[in-house]
């Protein structure tokens, strides 16, 4: 599978780092199917993957003209997805609150639109920020938290403490 530029439907389901870890675990489980003789793969793959992931998996196989019941094709596909995972860029976002699913989806939609489709969120919660967020991406760091503003204020006005 040399076509690394193919936009995998499976990869597009990944929103956060936790999703990536979960997918990696599922890929390891899929790997156990390889080498088993006299086995129809597709039902077993359906058992391992959840509904959305299985549908995305089938769509990828259809687009790439692969056979889900073919062990060689399955192995190549798993390696392909692993290479894709290695190339993921993470946007590290530290929030002061635990975000809801809707908020995460909204943020992810914004990132997809403005930064690119190979970016996944790496979310952390740190209540010490009080409010706002810290964003890290591509080695760049931006601190938009209230904590940073307060620290800067106290540094300038130490006599007020």
């Amino acid at each position: 599978m040399d076509n690394l530029s193919y936009r995998s439907r499976l990869m597009s389901l990944l929103t956060t780092r936790e999703d990536v870890y979960a997918l990696e675990e599922k890929l390891e489980n899929l790997y156990t199917l390889i080498g088993k003789v006299n086995t129809t793969l597709e039902p077993k793959i359906k058992d391992i993957l959840d509904y959305n992931t299985f549908n995305a998996f089938l769509e990828d196989f259809k687009n790439l003209r692969l056979q889900p019941n073919n062990q060689t094709d399955l192995e190549n596909y798993i390696d392909f997805i692993k290479k894709k995972i290695e190339k993921i860029n993470y946007l590290k976002l530290t929030l002061a609150i635990t975000p809801s699913k809707e908020l995460i989806d909204e943020i992810f939609y914004w990132i997809n639109k403005n930064i690119g489709q190979d970016v996944v969120l790496d979310l952390t919660v740190d209540k010490r920020l009080i409010a706002g967020s810290i964003i890290e991406y591509g080695g760049r760091f931006k601190n938009y938290s209230i904590q940073a503003k307060l620290d800067a204020f106290w540094a300038k006005n130490p006599n007020l403490i």
Partner: protein, 486 residues
């Protein structure tokens, strides 16, 4: 807010430690980092960007404590700089302390770059002033000058450090400021050097920049550059400075260690290809400079260690080509009891002679040619044949000269007294009883010279004749007058 948070928020870039190889740390991130830039770790340690690869940086750590993988790294946006002030005089400075002070955001003092580009030719002047070491064999036969770079080379334990301390003692007494860089030296040795300065009351003119083997390799590597920066700062303030770099073979080994960890391609003897450049750019910062306040010099005495007297080693030959001469401390002469054991035939001075007066020039020439003759005459003795009177006289004079050149560690002799003493021995003015008790008479003469202005005036007048022959012509009469006055 600590320093790391300050720089992280100010510069707005972050990196993470991926891998650790001893004192080299591999960092990813920091997209706009520059070569040789200072970085700070979340744990407070400092490092310098050593190599820049496609997606990673190799950072040379400045602390012995290692960092953990995953530690955050921030850029400081500045290169290596140090705060240098008069308060450093008389103290032992550790490079790490200066670096930590320099990155403090609250610091308002001027910062001096540690790695400076040496001044160009238009800002330099020809070397014209002699540098007196107070050691007779050097000042008379292998003279040095202010602004010269003279390599001190020899096996270990041959008296190199003793000679350097003598030179520092003499120079501080003449008003120069001295910077002693102890590169990877044991704490005990540094303490001994400090005690020497305290005992001889020269701490108001000396700065010691020291790193021990316990320090990080990055700090040991930085020590001579920092010492040179200190020298440049005080030169700009109107001082002639003497810099001693003890020793550059240790420095080269540390640099080799760092480069091999950073996977730089090893060259000869596994040293990296830029070893010559590393030392040459350091030594080029010495010289005779034109500053806004006048002409001031930085004289550099780098030290190199040899193994079994081998002068053809890689680092040794590199340093010999980067300097204006070398003084070779011969272990064979050391074993024979000569102190200092400087071999005048294997030592070179390329610049010192142009600063000498006519008399000293003549004296130096006489000494070298006579010692050459004396060396050859020594070979005749081994035959056991009967010696002619000429040979006996030559050998006797040679032995007197060698006795004169043997100088205890704490004794420094003013140059004019050296010339006078040589003339007295050369012209046989002193009889055997004086020669047998030479140390006593030398000490007496030096004391009188330093304390009695009339003696000083007469000696200076005798020595500053138009030529050595003219001086010898009036030696007996004028010496008697000096003795009478003393």
């Amino acid at each position: 807010m600590n320093n790391f948070d300050y720089y992280l928020n100010t510069i707005g870039e972050i990196g993470y430690v991926d891998q650790i190889n001893g004192s080299i740390v591999v960092v990813s991130g920091l997209p706009k980092a520059g070569s040789d830039e200072l970085v700070i770790f979340e744990s407070g340690q400092l490092g310098q960007i050593f190599t820049m690869k496609k997606n990673q940086l190799e950072v040379m750590l400045f602390s012995k404590e290692s960092v953990k993988p995953g530690t955050k790294v921030a850029r400081t946006g500045r290169s290596l700089e140090a705060i240098i002030s008069e308060a450093m005089i008389g103290k032992i400075i550790n490079p790490l302390q200066l670096l930590l002070a320099s990155i403090d955001p609250k610091n308002k003092e001027r910062l001096y770059p540690i790695h400076m580009i040496p001044k160009g030719i238009t800002e330099r002047e020809s070397i014209s002033k002699p540098l007196e070491t107070g050691v007779s064999i050097v000042d008379l036969a292998i003279p040095l000058a202010k602004g010269q770079r003279e390599l001190i080379i020899g096996d270990r334990k041959t008296g190199k450090s003793a000679f350097l301390l003598q030179t520092i003692l003499n120079q501080t007494q003449q008003g120069s400021l001295c910077v002693y860089a102890a590169i990877g030296k044991k704490t005990l040795e540094i303490r001994r050097i400090e005690e020497f300065f305290i005992k001889n009351k020269v701490t108001d003119k000396v700065i010691v920049v020291a790193s021990t083997p316990e320090d990080a390799s990055g700090i040991i590597n930085l020590t001579p550059y920092l010492a040179m920066t200190v020298a440049e700062c005080f030169r700009d303030k109107g001082n002639d400075v003497l810099v001693v770099l003890d020793d550059l073979t240790t420095h080269a080994k540390v640099y080799r260690e760092i480069s091999l960890l950073a996977e730089k391609f090893p060259g000869r003897n596994s040293y990296p290809a830029d070893t010559f450049y590393m030392h040459a750019k350091l030594l080029e910062r010495a010289g005779n400079f034109i500053t806004s306040g006048g002409t001031y010099s930085i004289t550099c005495l780098p030290v190199a260690e040899t193994t079994q007297g081998d002068l053809s080693g890689y680092i040794q030959t590199n340093l010999m080509s980067s300097t204006d001469g070398h003084l070779f401390f011969d272990s064979n002469l050391f074993a024979q009891g000569r102190r200092p054991p400087i071999n005048p035939f294997l030592s070179v001075t390329r610049v010192g002679r142009q600063t000498q007066t006519r008399v000293r020039h003549d004296v130096g020439r006489e000494i070298i040619s006579f010692l050459n003759l004396f060396e050859k005459m020594q070979n005749f003795i081994h035959f056991g044949a009967e010696l002619g009177q000429n040979i006996k006289t030559t050998i006797e004079t040679g032995n007197k000269l060698l006795k004169f050149f043997n100088q205890p560690m704490h004794q420094t002799i003013p140059t004019n007294i050296q010339v006078l003493l040589f003339a007295l021995i050369w012209n046989d003015v002193w009889d055997k009883s004086v020669i047998d008790d030479l140390d006593k008479y030398v000490n007496l003469l030096v004391k009188k010279y330093n304390t009695n202005p009339e003696v000083k005036k007469r000696v200076d007048s005798l020595v500053e004749k138009k030529s050595f022959n003219e001086m010898l012509g009036s030696l007996r009469k004028e010496y008697q007058q000096i003795v009478d006055v003393a």
